[in-house]
């Protein structure tokens, strides 16, 4: 058997695991590992400019590909800088393995230079973590970390590695296990057949059904099965912010996103339905509005790989724990069986009445049928997303930051394919978009990758423009610039009588065009609507350039619909500044 040092073991194990990229930043505690990577490792390393960006880039890569993102950071500040990115991945259940350096074993607990208790700090935001005690344990620990991160409900796993365990002169036998078993870790392999049968029956008996699809459908690669089920039954589908792309967004049966800024027709259909099929969704507070008033007439079928997600917020009438793909496959078979026996299922008359009602809602206030935003002398943010959709033929990878621009992108760019919409849904991390786009572009270099952002969010990780220069990352950044923290000012307009407490920058914003040019990229500013489409096309025509489109938009626009809270139900929405349901 081969003898390797701890550092060499890590380099080799990442190769053996089939890792495509390491996103990281070197420092004292990980120098042995970096030297091993430098000497002999086929996995390319992407040097970011801040560890938070390493985690977001790995995260974006993971969301787009379904593979586990890998991060390597040093101890102390390197590790703490990675925390926001780990929390982001945790909230959205993204598979990630974070290798953090630690001070030498004998110094642990002595407040050594660049020491921090990474295992302790990261504990509430990881799926699991390992502290390496013996160099010989490294291969099996790394194997376990990848298994835990990527299986069941995915999530980030931290491996904390004291520097002395990676030293080049201490060599041990290396063997990377093919598989690994853990007695205390066994995610559900399939759903309960009896429950699936019951669910199929309830689903077919429904008169006002709706399918509510979440991010779990994408994580569980079940879009195909979900689409097939919806199409066979002609049932309407709504998706969460995390589930966009789980069902084709431009399809007739798609009612769009639901929730706080969801489509009118989606929220109305949810509220009035008699049967909700929730798939890989978790009834988040941004979906339900007031839980006590949530969908009063609906029976709930809830499919999720994580038993703790079921009946956490809303009681499930039929809970099904299992991988969404296999459960939906089995449900399709059960539905077919039941319909063979009784071809009148589901009730066609009831269903056509239901669709009539939905079309009525759609016609009244639908995002794409009604006139949902006013036009002004300035460019409206919605128009920018529409222009982006047109220029990319709806087929780009879109990452986003957090705020109004995120909601506009979610509403006005219908995603037809899974894993195309990359955003921080659970944690709502500003600064996510740019590094995430870098990660996506590495995975799909020939695809259009655009980051929709605002002047607030982009400045939270703007240093990554330099990383993009180093690795020729030809992403497009679409800056919806309203010169204030848009979502904050929207809330201040609605709830604080327009007092813009610290949500404007006065005259402190940089000249973004000059700024990106300083990094070697292309900047284009757009102020007139007439120039928007042309500029957008020009940006995407430059295949090998990062282009920053600085679009000056109407600073007063709000995102609508918006749930009325507190004490509102799904159906209670603001439809515009002075119009409500």
């Amino acid at each position: 058997m081969e003898l390797l040092s701890g550092g060499e073991m890590i380099a080799r194990a990442l190769e053996d695991e089939g890792v495509e990229y390491i996103f990281g930043y070197p420092g004292g505690a990980v120098l042995h590992i970096y030297d091993a990577l430098f000497k002999d490792c086929k996995v390319p390393h992407i040097l970011v400019r801040h560890e938070q960006a390493a985690t977001h880039a790995a995260d974006g890569y993971a969301r787009a590909t379904g593979k586990t993102g890998v991060v390597l950071v040093t101890s102390g500040p390197g590790a703490t800088n990675a925390i926001t990115g780990i929390a982001t991945a945790y909230m959205d259940s993204i598979p990630m393995v974070v290798l953090s350096g630690q001070v030498q074993s004998h110094l642990i607990g002595e407040d050594a230079f660049q020491e921090t208790d990474m295992i302790g700090i990261s504990r509430p935001i990881v799926k699991h973590s390992f502290m390496v005690k013996r160099t010989e344990d490294l291969p099996i620990m790394i194997k376990k970390a990848f298994l835990i991160a990527s299986s069941g409900r995915p999530g980030p796993v931290v491996i904390d590695i004291p520097k002395d365990l990676t030293r080049p002169d201490a060599k041990y036998e290396y063997h990377y296990p093919e598989t690994v078993k853990m007695r205390s870790y066994a995610p559900a392999q399939r759903g309960h057949t009896g429950q699936i049968k019951k669910a199929a029956k309830l689903l077919l008996a429904a008169k006002r059904p709706i399918i509510y699809a979440g991010g779990g459908v994408l994580l569980g690669d079940a879009s195909e099965q979900l689409t097939q089920l919806a199409r066979e039954l002609n049932y309407p589908v709504t998706k969460t912010l995390m589930g966009l792309g789980a069902y084709p967004g431009s399809d007739r049966q798609c009612l769009g996103m639901l929730g706080m800024h969801g489509f009118y027709e989606a929220n109305m259909a949810m509220h009035n339905s008699d049967c909700i099929l929730a798939v890989g969704a978790r009834f988040d507070d941004r979906v339900t509005n007031t839980v006590g008033k949530f969908c009063p007439g609906a029976k709930v079928i809830h499919i999720d790989i994580d038993p703790a997600s079921i009946s956490k917020i809303v009681m499930a009438d039929i809970p099904i724990v299992g991988p969404v793909q296999s459960v939906l496959t089995e449900m399709l078979a059960q539905v077919a069986l039941l319909r063979e026996k009784d071809s009148s299922l589901p009730d066609k008359t009831a269903l056509s009445l239901w669709w009539e009602q939905i079309e009525e809602w759609r016609a009244a206030h639908g995002l794409f049928t009604g006139r949902r935003f006013s036009e002004s002398d300035m460019i409206m943010p919605q128009q920018v997303i529409q222009s982006l959709y047109r220029a990319t033929k709806g087929d780009a990878y879109i990452t986003s930051d957090v705020g109004q621009h995120q909601m506009f992108a979610a509403q006005y760019y219908p995603f037809d394919k899974p894993r195309r919409w990359i955003n921080s849904g659970g944690l709502g991390t500003m600064g996510f978009g740019l590094p995430a786009a870098m990660g996506v572009k590495l995975a799909f270099p020939d695809m259009d990758v655009a980051c929709v952002t605002g002047e607030g969010s982009i400045q939270m990780n703007i240093q990554e423009l330099s990383t993009c220069t180093q690795y020729d990352s030809a992403i497009k950044i679409i800056n919806l610039r309203n010169n204030n923290l848009g979502m904050v000012t929207q809330w201040q307009d609605m709830q604080y009588e327009g007092r813009y407490a610290m949500s404007t920058y006065e005259d402190s914003l940089p000249d973004f065009v000059k700024l990106v040019e300083a990094y070697g990229h292309v900047g284009i500013q757009v102020t007139n609507l007439a120039d928007l489409d042309g500029a957008m096309d020009e940006a995407f025509s430059m295949k090998d350039k990062l282009v920053f489109l600085d679009v000056i938009i109407d600073p007063t626009e709000h995102v609508y619909p918006m749930h009325i809270a507190p004490n509102g139900a799904m159906k209670d929405m603001w439809l515009s500044k002075n119009e409500r349901t």
Partner: protein
């Protein structure tokens, strides 16, 4: 309702902090906590008592089960079980009180495990309720110190919390 939740957990550093952390992270209370190794050196047994509605306890046990270090878990209060809490209580025992304290201790089937000219240290084993009752019965005495082990529990009959399936 009060629950006794008992689990087998990997005897690994950090395992306990994951369990405890979950409680503060998700807003649950721990009333008592007891952890010790088992006959299997790779496992520790942790028993805790907490109070909550059925729904909340169900959510809590699901979250605990998700922890990779938690190998097996049971809510002992779901079935017949035995629970024991141990208390050491140091009281001032002089003059007329000395005899009274001895009598009360006997009634509770406690033992005086340390004796000084003015001090008794009493050991009482039983349910938490019994221990509470003893402290209440000693309300006239001058209690100097109380230390309790926290509840340890085990199911009655054939039911076993172990790695092997025994049925």
């Amino acid at each position: 309702m009060r629950r006794i939740i008992s689990m087998l957990m990997e005897n690994e550093p950090g395992a306990l902090s994951r369990v405890i952390g979950l409680f503060s992270q998700r807003g649950y209370n721990i009333e008592t906590l007891n952890v010790a190794p088992t006959n299997d050196p790779t496992l520790s047994r942790l028993t805790l008592t907490t109070v909550g509605s059925d729904l909340r306890i169900e959510q809590l046990t699901k979250q605990l089960n998700k922890l990779v270090d938690v190998v097996k878990l049971a809510d002992l209060t779901e079935g017949a079980h035995i629970e024991r809490d141990m208390m050491l209580i140091k009281v001032r025992a002089s003059g007329a009180a000395r005899h009274e304290i001895k009598r009360t201790t006997d009634i509770f089937r406690g033992q005086i495990v340390d004796v000084g000219p003015d001090i008794y240290t009493i050991q009482i084993i039983g349910t938490s309720e019994k221990l509470d009752a003893f402290v209440a019965a000693m309300s006239d005495a001058d209690i100097l110190e109380v230390v309790r082990s926290g509840v340890a529990g085990i199911s009655r009959g054939e039911k076993v919390l172990s790695l092997e399936k025994r049925f």
